[in-house]
Structures are given as C-alpha cells and as structure tokens.
C-alpha cells in the first residue's frame, strides 16, 4: 500500500498504542484509535506489497502467506502455509477468499442452545452493529434478498455466478435446499474508497487467494489502513515482534522487534496483539506473560472444510470467476443433526495446484489416478463447508524445542477431530454428495481439509478459564489487549474475517472508554 507522507515515531517515544499485526484484527482498531488522536504504531512482520505486483502464479504467490514453518500434530493435523495465515501489510486479508457470511446470534450462543462448547461474553446486538459498520465500510457485495435474514442488504450486487455456482444452485434446488448468491467482501462496481482511491469492480479473474491485483477485494490495505495512516498512525513493515517488556508494576512498557536484522525496542503505553490465532499465543507463550489461567494456546479450533467434487460432462473450469459465489445457510442447525452446531455450504472454484494438493493430501491420490484426476480438472465442480468445531482440551498450541529464524520456538499445533466434528462431517458429506449428484456430477471425490485458526486466547469474564476479559483486555496485564481470532470462544460457522474486524472496532471503543 501507499505509505507516502506517513508519520513516523521514534523507538524511544512512548507511543499511546503499539499494535502487533495489520490484518483484520489490528487494522480497524489502529484506524479508530488514530482517528481519536492516539499515537499508534502498527508493527507488521511481513513486507509492504504493491498489489499490482502480485502474481496469480500459485507457486510464487506464497509470498503473501505465512510460510515460516509450523509443526502440526494430532490425529488430524491441520495444514498451515498457504492454507492459513498471511504475512505482509494487510495480514491474512491479502490472501483471504472474501467469503463474508455474518455470524448469527445462535452462533455465539452454542452452549445456551446445545449445552456444548462455549458462549461468547458479547452482546449480539452490539456485535451486529459493528458487523454492519464493517460491511458498509469495506464494501460487501451480496444478494438483495437474503433468505436467512430478511431485511439484510448489501452495498453492491452479488458477484457473478460461475459454472460451480450454477451447479450448486441446480443441485440444491433438486434436493430442496435453499441456496443463493453469497455475500463477498469485494466491490462489483468501481468504488471510491476513502483515503485509498479507486477500487475496480471485480473482474472475475479467480485469483483472490493469490492477492487481488485491482483492489476489488477488500483487505485492510485498501480500507482501514489508509484511514489509519491519514489519521497519523505508522505502519512499520518487516518488523517481527519477539519480545514484550514489563515494568515493575507488571505493565507492558515496550515491545522488542527485529527489523533489518537489528533488534529494536518500541516503547508504548498500551499493547494490542493482533497477530492471529497462531502467532498471538506463540508470542505470549514465548514471553510467558498473560497466562496465569494457563489457557494461552488452549482450545485451538479449526473449521471443518470438507469438499465434495463431481465430474461433469461439460467444461466447468472453476478457476474462472469469484471462487465461492453461492451460499446455503440451511444447515446452520439441521433438524436431523446428531451433533451441536452446523455448517455453511458454499460453491467452490479452485486453482489447479491447490486442487491437486487437496487431492493427494485429502484423498490420498497418486500415480496414474492422480494424473487422470488432474486431466479431469476442467470438468470438475464442487461444494464445500465451513463447519462448527467445539473447543477441546486435546487441541492446543504449544512451543517446540526448535527455534525459528528469530529465535522464537516454533509452534506445535495439535488437532484431533472429536465425535461432534466427525458427526457433522458425515452429515455434511452426505448432503454435499446429494447436491453434487443431483446437479449431474459423477465419480464423486470427497476431500478432507480444515481451515482457519481460532480460539487460542479465549475471551470471557471468568479469569480462571479465559485469557482476556469481555472487553478484550488481558486478565493479568492491564495495558495488554488482544484483538484477533484467538479470542473467539467458539469457532462460529461463519468464516472469521468480518467478525474479527467487527470485534476490532469494538475493542477500540472499549480501549477508548477505559
């Protein structure tokens, strides 16, 4: 992003707030606090990219992903790298898919309704207000009539349907499931973004995950961060935080970060960690702070993201168009469920390397079967889910003995699906298979995968069971806040980005009120 004319702060200056991370958790808060006159420095581990330089080439596009090695354990190890966190000014929103469903009230009241999982210590109406603000400001496109939330409206018409969209609509109609155009955080018309400039209408190029080259897709680099810079915040790229210093009273006094190979110390009055569900708990465990509850790194959750693909008689060529333009919320709470929670269904577009990776990792294909499956790539279309995951003690993030290039122990993340996740996956696989078959798909291929990383520094009033209080403030360190997906008490069914941003605005307001 353009950082021309940005204000700079010296390391010795005690800035009002240091924010670690410039993605969905850090950026809205940075913009809000700076607009209220606070001096804010946002430290970003990755570089500052110019979107015109992104390449759609899947191999090279990993430059916007967090590729520093993570270690994955448990019976269902989750894939990192391209599959999860981002790195660069804009964070994971550089590579995210822009799929922007909203969480419903039931999403944050799972325990109330089912007795399982956890509820959020958050008022839903308040959250909904922030969600609306976020959607309007970043420009979400979606249907004019949203079947599961009458009255909801979006700023621009939904993205265009592609072959897998038509397939999913056809299949859903045949099996009696409601499906419609999905809300997507991209602009379908040319859009002037405050303090950024022109964001072009989506060109249906299909490269959302490789970085949007015409800023149609909302990131923080083309929405909240330009506002933040205008208001006097500094975005300091290529600055990897690896230490947190406390004063004699146990309050954060500075963060230690490495830039250009040199360790530097930025003094601050308040610290916000927005490094995401893996890096935030890793930094806390590494520095040993804010963990009197022993809950840092616990309750790691991933969304079930199983896909069902079918082969069709005509070219589908699902790399064309916005990849996930159809949604169904019918399975939010299925009537015949033998599990808590539910799942969203979406249509799938996919790039070839990503598809092949899922084929070989998720379905175990190799040899001529793998080559044949890739020869069929252009005939394939599929649907996938984003499914509830319950917090569980066995699923957690810990530190390994191995150090990364900054001397921080690498994260070891263990994940094993429990009975609830398995029952949900079975239900979803049956429903998805029915949809794809009804749409004319043959030789169905079920590909197991998971996505997103949430829940490793939980928010809640009970300081014995949670890392931050309902405002997002550490129970232990009064000037330390966390604003990212690690605070989620439950996984939600909705993809996390919009909620992370809404919670970021909420945390900013709580900080200002404190």
């Amino acid at each position: 992003m353009n950082l021309t004319g940005m204000r700079h702060y010296s390391d010795d200056e005690v800035v009002d707030v240091v924010v670690v991370g410039t993605g969905a958790g850090g950026a809205p808060l940075t913009a809000t606090l700076a607009a209220r006159g606070l001096s804010v420095v946002a430290l970003e581990a990755g570089p500052n990219f110019d979107p015109v330089d992104y390449t759609g080439d899947e191999t090279e596009a990993v430059e916007i992903n967090w590729m520093s090695e993570r270690i994955s354990g448990g019976a269902d190890p989750t894939a990192f790298g391209q599959n999860n966190s981002g790195r660069g000014v804009g964070g994971s929103m550089l590579h995210w898919g822009a799929f922007a469903p909203r969480p419903g009230e039931a999403d944050i009241r799972l325990k109330r309704d089912s007795g399982l999982g956890e509820d959020w210590d958050v008022d839903y109406e308040e959250l909904k207000g922030y969600l609306g603000q976020v959607e309007h400001f970043i420009g979400v496109s979606g249907p004019s009539d949203y079947p599961w939330d009458p009255g909801r409206s979006y700023r621009y018409p939904a993205p265009r349907r592609n072959a897998s969209s038509d397939m999913m609509i056809r299949g859903c109609q045949a099996v009696g499931i409601t499906a419609t155009d999905a809300p997507a955080a991209l602009v379908t018309h040319d859009h002037h973004q405050e303090e950024f400039g022109l964001r072009h209408a989506c060109a249906n190029c299909g490269n959302c995950h490789q970085g949007c080259r015409n800023s149609s897709k909302a990131g923080t680099d083309n929405t909240y961060l330009p506002l933040a810079v205008k208001a006097g915040a500094e975005i300091r790229a290529e600055s990897m935080v690896h230490g947190i210093e406390l004063d004699a009273r146990g309050r954060v006094s500075a963060v230690v970060y490495r830039k250009d190979g040199v360790d530097r110390r930025q003094r601050c009055a308040q610290l916000v960690l927005s490094a995401g569900g893996v890096e935030t708990p890793r930094l806390l465990l590494h520095t040993g702070i804010a963990n009197s509850s022993g809950q840092v790194g616990r309750n790691f959750m991933v969304h079930g993201a199983t896909q069902v693909w079918g082969r069709f008689d005509t070219d589908m060529r699902g790399h064309r168009g916005y990849p996930s333009s159809i949604i169904s919320e019918d399975m939010m709470r299925p009537n015949d469920a033998d599990f808590a929670g539910g799942y969203l269904i979406q249509s799938l577009g996919v790039m070839p390397l990503t598809y092949a990776t899922t084929l070989t990792r998720g379905a175990g294909l190799w040899g001529q079967a793998l080559v044949d499956a890739m020869d069929d790539y252009r005939y394939m279309a599929g649907v996938g889910i984003n499914g509830e995951c319950l917090p569980a003690d066995r699923n957690r993030l810990e530190l390994s003995d191995e150090l990364d290039e900054f001397g921080i122990p690498k994260a070891v993340i263990s994940f094993t699906a429990g009975p609830n996740e398995k029952a949900l996956d079975k239900h979803a696989t049956e429903r998805m298979s029915a949809i794809v078959e009804a749409a004319g798909g043959k030789d169905l291929q079920v590909l197991a995968r998971t996505a997103h990383t949430v829940g490793t520094a939980r928010m809640g009033a009970d300081r014995e069971r949670n890392v931050v209080d309902p405002d997002g403030r550490s129970h232990d360190v009064p000037n330390l806040w966390i604003s990212d997906n690690s605070t989620f008490a439950s996984s939600l069914i909705a993809n996390p980005a919009i909620t992370i941003m809404a919670m970021s605005l909420r945390t900013a307001d709580r900080m200002l009120a404190a």
């Binding site: 979107p51 899947e58 090695e69 299909g206 080259r213 080559v371």
Partner: protein, 461 residues
C-alpha cells in the same frame, strides 16, 4: 476415465527456430552456411540489424534500439520454441533479449537456449583502444572502403576464408552504414548492461575461437561465463573471430548437439498456448515466471542438498507418483533446488524431522527403487501410505505416511506449475491480465463457455 493427451507427443512445433544476430559489419547472410547445414532439424532465421546488410539504420543503431527491433522481429515471426544466437556484437544483443524474455518484460515466450559465437558480453566489451580508434578512423570520411574491409577481415580470421565467403564478407562491410558502425564502436560496445541482464539460468552454448583476441576463450569464461549460470563452453582451436564463416561445419554441429542434448530437452508447449503467454493477457511478472519454468532442466545439475543417488531414487518416486510421457520435467532436481532454498510449504507433521532430514532418511531407505519392476515400485510406495508398516529407515510408519504425503504434494505441484502441464489440463487462468483496467479476468463464466482468446482444447469426452 478421460484424459487430455496430445495425439502426437512430439508434434511438428517441437522443431526450433534459431534467430541469429550478426557481428559488427556483417549481416544475416553470415548464417547462410549454418542454415543449410541445420536445415533438417532447425529453422535458422538470420536478422539484419539496423544499419547492416539490407536494413537501413532508421530503426535505430543504439543497443537499446537494436534490442527492441529484435524483439519486434521475433514477435512478428511468431516462433514459440526458439533459441537466440549472437555473433560478436550480436552476442550482447542476444543476452539482453534473453534477459527480457526471462523477466517477462518482452512480449515473447518460448526461448529455450542461447548460443554465443565469440559473443560480446553485457559488460563493456574488452577492446584495444588503438584498434577502436583505427576502426573509427576508417569511417571518418564515409563508409568503409575496400582496403579497410580487407584489413578488418584479415585481423579477425585465424586462417584465410574461402573466396566466396571473403567476397560476401567484404560486401557486407562496405555496405555497413557509417552511423551503425560508429554507434557500436563509440557507444554500444562500451555500454554496461550487466545490471539489467543480471544472471541468466538458461541453457547456453558459448563458442570461441582459440586464436581470437579480446573475445577469445579466456574472456568468454570470465565475462559471459559470469552471466550464465549453466554455460557449456566450446573452443575451436585455431579459429579467429568470424566463427560462422571460418568453422561453419563445427558451429552447425555444435548447435545441433546443444539443441538435442540440452536446450530442446523440455516438454513441448502447444503453439497457441505459447502465443497466449506472450500476449498482453499475461502480466509480465507471471510471463517471466512461466518462461523460466519452461526451460529445459540442466543435464549437468549438481544436487544441492540431496546426493546424486538420492536424485536417482527421487526420480524413481516421481515417475510412479506423477507418470509423465515424452521428455519429462525433472521434478527431482527441481525439488532439490526448493529444499536448498528453504522453500517449504509452511508446515510439517509433528512425526517428521526437518524437511531436508526427512528426504535424506526416506531416500536412503528407498535406495535402489529404480531397479524394481514398476509394480514392485508401486507396492513399496503403497506401503508408505499404509496405516501399518515397518516405517522408513529410522522413521516411524506415521512419519513414512507424512513424508509420502509431503513428497506427493511437492511432486504434483512442481509438475502442475510447468506451463506444458497447464496446457495439458486446460488451465489458462494465468492469462487473466495485469492489474487495474488491465486485469481482464473472465467475461464468460458458465459451463461450456469459452472466450475467443482462449486456446483450443481437444474434447476428450
């Protein structure tokens, strides 16, 4: 099961074109002998540079203008599987054109190799200043006269040329435009293009005459050898500077051997797909990525983290995991390069040691795999994916599962990243434009719809 496989695995497009750029004072004609000798295997296209041969100086005589002219000529020719050859002055132009193709900045695709004949390097050409002054003095009053032309030929040949070659060389010298002659001596030869060219990882054949002067074997090693990462050197003993004329047979044979032994050993990308990569629908950066990836693997590749034995074993694994027809992409050496560069995929199973360590252990344990029958090799690999088993070397069975999953993903990704594979599976998503208004994307999104610019696909149903 359906598949999209070219009917003829080595179609006619596989025949290469070599664009030849001549020396100072020469013309496209100097390659006539080579063209005749290579007629069965290679299309030799000699290009007159501006101010030489039949071509006026109007297109511009600076290095930059000559490069632009050559790019235009190659583009209008339409070749999609080609080499570029530069003799002396033409060598500098050839290296610059190659660098622009490999960066993606030029609207070209399909460069497979470079041939330098006593080539001028991208850095200032070593040239005795007295000689430079003398050659400039020849044109103080106008073009070169007969005496100057004879003196130039004598000074640049190791042994006398046949009469007809000599006459043609003299004719070319006398018709060289004064403007072009002086531009090279005063400016072009002195320009330093090394920063723009950088280092080029393209197959290259660097030929020099043992009796040449400033552009002889030593300076070729030192100057052009520093530009190219995988040079093949050939010294023609006793030859002077005018190699295409002096040693036509040997030069032609060296080009043929270079094509069949190295530069041409890559999967063929269909013509319409190659033209698409060259078109404005592909962002220059992406075009460059595809251009570099399409280059033939280095037959003399020195493994960087694996051993030569490991490479053989990994090639055997690759052949079973991703069977290829025709000239295969050497997935094993490409993975060795990625391991050496520390390009992992961002995570690994808790069961595994570090990426490199896991490969070393696994490939040691699989040593000799290539000696088994195909079905037996498949049995061995299938056992790595099984729930129960003895493990692999010092690794547990769970680690063997995880390593085999990792290597499968790495192999299939490396295979798919090659533009020939993209064409094979019908993926043209790399051609969706650059950015802003030039991010073209797709207009037709529904099943069965294709846009006019898209390459044709064989219907395989």
């Amino acid at each position: 099961m359906t598949s999209f496989i070219p009917e003829n695995p080595v179609p006619i497009e596989a025949r290469p074109t070599v664009f030849c750029l001549h020396a100072l004072g020469s013309s496209a004609r100097e390659f006539d002998g080579i063209a005749a000798r290579l007629a069965d295997d290679v299309d030799v296209v000699g290009l007159d540079l501006p101010g030489f041969g039949d071509l006026s100086a109007a297109d511009g005589v600076t290095v930059d203008e000559m490069v632009a002219y050559v790019v235009r000529r190659i583009r209008s020719h339409g070749a999609t599987r080609w080499m570029i050859l530069g003799h002396s002055m033409g060598g500098k132009i050839a290296s610059i054109v190659a660098s622009r193709v490999l960066s993606g900045d030029a609207p070209l695709f399909g460069l497979a190799g470079v041939v330098l004949l006593a080539g001028s390097p991208p850095v200032p050409e070593p040239m005795d200043e007295e000689r430079r002054e003398q050659m400039l003095a020849w044109t103080d009053e106008g073009g070169l006269d007969d005496d100057a032309a004879r003196e130039f030929v004598d000074a640049n040949t190791g042994s006398p040329l046949p009469d007809d070659e000599l006459r043609a060389a003299l004719t070319d010298l006398r018709r060289t435009s004064r403007e072009a002659w002086r531009a090279w001596l005063q400016r072009g030869s002195r320009e330093d293009w090394s920063e723009q060219v950088g280092t080029l990882d393209v197959p290259v054949l660097i030929v020099s005459g043992g009796a040449d002067g400033d552009l002889g074997p030593e300076n070729q090693q030192r100057l052009n050898g520093a530009v190219y990462t995988r040079p093949r050197f050939l010294t023609l003993d006793g030859a002077g500077h005018l190699l295409p004329l002096e040693r036509t047979d040997e030069v032609a044979e060296a080009i043929r051997a270079f094509w069949f032994g190295e530069a041409g050993r890559s999967p063929v990308i269909p013509t319409d797909w190659s033209r698409l990569v060259a078109s404005p629908r592909v962002q220059p950066r992406t075009r460059g990525i595809l251009a570099r990836r399409a280059l033939a693997d280095n037959p003399r590749y020195k493994p960087r983290v694996l051993s030569a034995r490991h490479i053989i074993t990994l090639r055997a694994v690759a052949a079973r995991v991703v069977p290829q027809q025709g000239v295969p992409i050497d997935l094993a050496t490409r993975i060795d390069g990625e391991l050496a560069d520390g390009k992992g995929d961002g995570w690994r199973s808790k069961e595994l040691p570090s990426d490199i360590e896991a490969y070393l252990i696994a490939l040691d344990a699989l040593d000799g795999l290539e000696n088994l029958a195909d079905a037996e090799q498949d049995d061995v690999l299938a056992s790595l994916a099984a729930d129960d088993g003895p493990g692999l070397g010092s690794m547990t069975q769970a680690a063997a599962n995880a390593w085999f999953e990792d290597v499968r993903a790495a192999l299939v990704r490396t295979w798919l990243a090659h533009p020939a594979t993209m064409a094979r599976i019908g993926f043209d998503g790399f051609a969706n434009g650059s950015s802003g208004r030039d991010l073209f994307g797709y207009q037709l999104l529904a099943a069965g719809e294709r846009e006019a610019w898209e390459p044709t696909l064989k219907e395989s149903k």
